[in-house]
Subunit: 252 residues, 2 copies
C-alpha cells in the first residue's frame, strides 16, 4: 500500500495558549523541539489566524466597544451582538449587505461576514479581528522557520468564512508566503491528450480547507498544522493575489 | 512524532480509463483488490465526478451539438467554444450571468460556471456534463462498498468550481452519501470556555478541497482518493443540503 502520492496533515498538538506579544514563529519552533517534530523540505506550515490576531493584539475588549445606533439596529435585525457588529463596521472598508448576514469588504479587500470579527477563541470578553497584514505575518513566520530549518518553509494563515450560495463555512487562506497560492494547469494535457484551458486552481484555499479538518473549529487547541506531500510552486506569492479586483468581482 | 490526529489522503493510482456503461463501484473494488488496499472503518471514499459523468453517459459529442445564435453570441463575448456554451445553456435551469463568465443554476440547483460542462478529462471531441443525480450515485457507490467491506463507507463526489469573489477554482462536494456534509460546532466550548455560536462548517466541501491536492486537475489519472482519520457524523446526508435555498442565497 505504499504510494508516493499520499498527503499527510499533521496537527501540532499541545500548542500553548497564546497571549498578546507572544512571538509566534519561535513558539512554533519550541513546540517542534518539545515534540521532536522535524519539518521536511516541501512541508507547508498552516496557522489559524486567531493566534496571530491575539499575538498581534488585534483584540477588542467588549467593555471598550460602544455600539453605535446603526450597529444596534443591524444587530437587532440579524441577531448578533451589537459589539460584534460595531467592531465589524469599524474594520470594514465597505458594507456590502446588512441582512441576513453582515457582509463587508475589509481593509485588506477581503469580502467576508462580520469583517472576520469573531467571538470564538478570543480571550474572555474580547473579540478578535483579522490581523492587519496577514501576508506580512506569513512572511515573517516563513522567514524564521526557513532560517531555522535551512530550507524554504512556506506558510499559510487561515480564516473560516461563509460562502454566498453554499451553506457552511470553509477555511480559506488570508495570508500566504513562500509559495504561489495557485496551481496553473494550463498547458498540461488531460488523460485524453487535450490541452486544458483556464484551469487556475486555488491551491492555498484547498490547503487551508484541508487543515481545518484537523484544526477543528472549537476548543481542540490545534492552531498549527503541517501539510506534507503536496506539489506546489515555491515563489513570492501572497493571499492578496487570491482576491478578485472590483472589475472581476462577480458578487458586488 | 506519533499522533492520533493526523489525516491521510491516499490516492488510488492506476485507475483504468473509464467508459460509458462501466460499473464504477465495482471498478473501485477491483482496483482496491489489485493493489491490496484495505479500507478502514472511518475512511471516506472521494470520487471526481468526471468518471461518473462518463460512466453514466452524461456526454455530448461536439459534432452533435448545434450552437444556437445565443450560444454563439455568448461564446464570442467570453471566448469559450460555442458548443460548450450551448450545452451549458441546455443543462441550466436559470442563467445568472453571461459575462465575464457564464454562471448558471443547474437542474440540481447548483450555481456554477458553464453548468459544470467541461472539456477536460472528457473522451476526445466530447464534453462532460454533471451527473443527473450525484447524491444518488454517491449512495449507490456507498452501498456497494459498505456491503463489500462490512462497515459503512461514506462517499463524496466532487467538481472543481470557481468562486464569485476569489480567484482560482476549488474542489467541492456535489454528491454525498453515508455522512452529514456538515460539522456543527454549536454547543462546544472554545479554548476559553465560551459557547460557540453558529459555527456550521461544510466538512464535505473541505474534504473535497483536500482531495484535489492529490487528484490534480490534469492528466494525473487519480479519480479516487481515500480520506483517513477525519471526524465526521455518519448519517443520511446529501450534497443537496449544502445548496442555499433562493431565500438564503446571498448571490442572486
Amino acid at each position: 500500500m505504499m504510494n508516493d502520492n499520499r498527503i499527510e496533515l499533521i496537527p501540532l498538538v499541545g500548542f500553548p495558549l497564546v497571549h498578546t506579544g507572544d512571538d509566534i514563529p519561535n513558539l512554533i519552533i519550541s513546540v517542534f523541539d518539545e515534540q521532536s517534530i522535524e519539518l521536511h523540505s516541501g512541508d507547508i506550515v498552516v496557522v489559524t489566524h486567531s493566534i496571530i490576531s491575539i499575538a498581534e493584539g488585534k483584540l477588542y475588549h467588549l467593555e471598550d466597544v460602544e455600539a453605535s445606533d446603526r450597529a444596534r439596529e443591524i444587530s437587532e435585525e440579524i441577531g448578533s451582538s451589537p459589539e460584534r457588529v460595531e467592531v465589524a463596521l469599524k474594520e470594514a472598508r465597505e458594507i456590502l449587505r446588512e441582512k441576513p448576514v453582515l457582509i463587508t469588504k475589509t481593509q485588506h479587500g477581503i469580502i467576508t461576514d462580520f469583517s472576520g470579527v469573531d467571538e470564538s477563541n478570543a480571550p474572555p470578553n474580547m473579540l478578535t479581528a483579522l490581523p492587519d497584514d496577514p501576508d506580512k505575518t506569513a512572511r515573517s513566520i516563513s522567514d524564521v522557520l526557513s532560517e531555522k530549518m535551512g530550507f524554504k518553509v512556506p506558510v499559510i494563515i487561515t480564516d473560516t468564512q461563509g460562502r454566498p450560495w453554499r451553506k457552511g463555512a470553509v477555511n480559506l487562506a488570508i495570508g500566504v508566503a513562500g509559495m504561489s497560492p495557485f496551481k496553473y494547469n494550463v498547458g498540461k494535457k488531460d488523460l485524453h491528450g487535450h490541452e486544458l484551458q483556464g484551469s487556475l486552481v486555488c491551491l492555498a484555499d484547498q490547503v487551508a480547507a484541508a487543515t481545518e479538518l484537523v484544526m477543528g473549529q472549537a476548543g481542540e487547541g490545534i492552531p498549527v498544522v503541517i501539510v506534507r506531500g503536496i506539489k506546489f510552486d515555491y515563489g513570492d506569492g501572497s493571499a492578496t493575489q487570491i482576491l478578485r479586483s472590483d472589475s472581476e468581482n462577480l458578487f458586488t
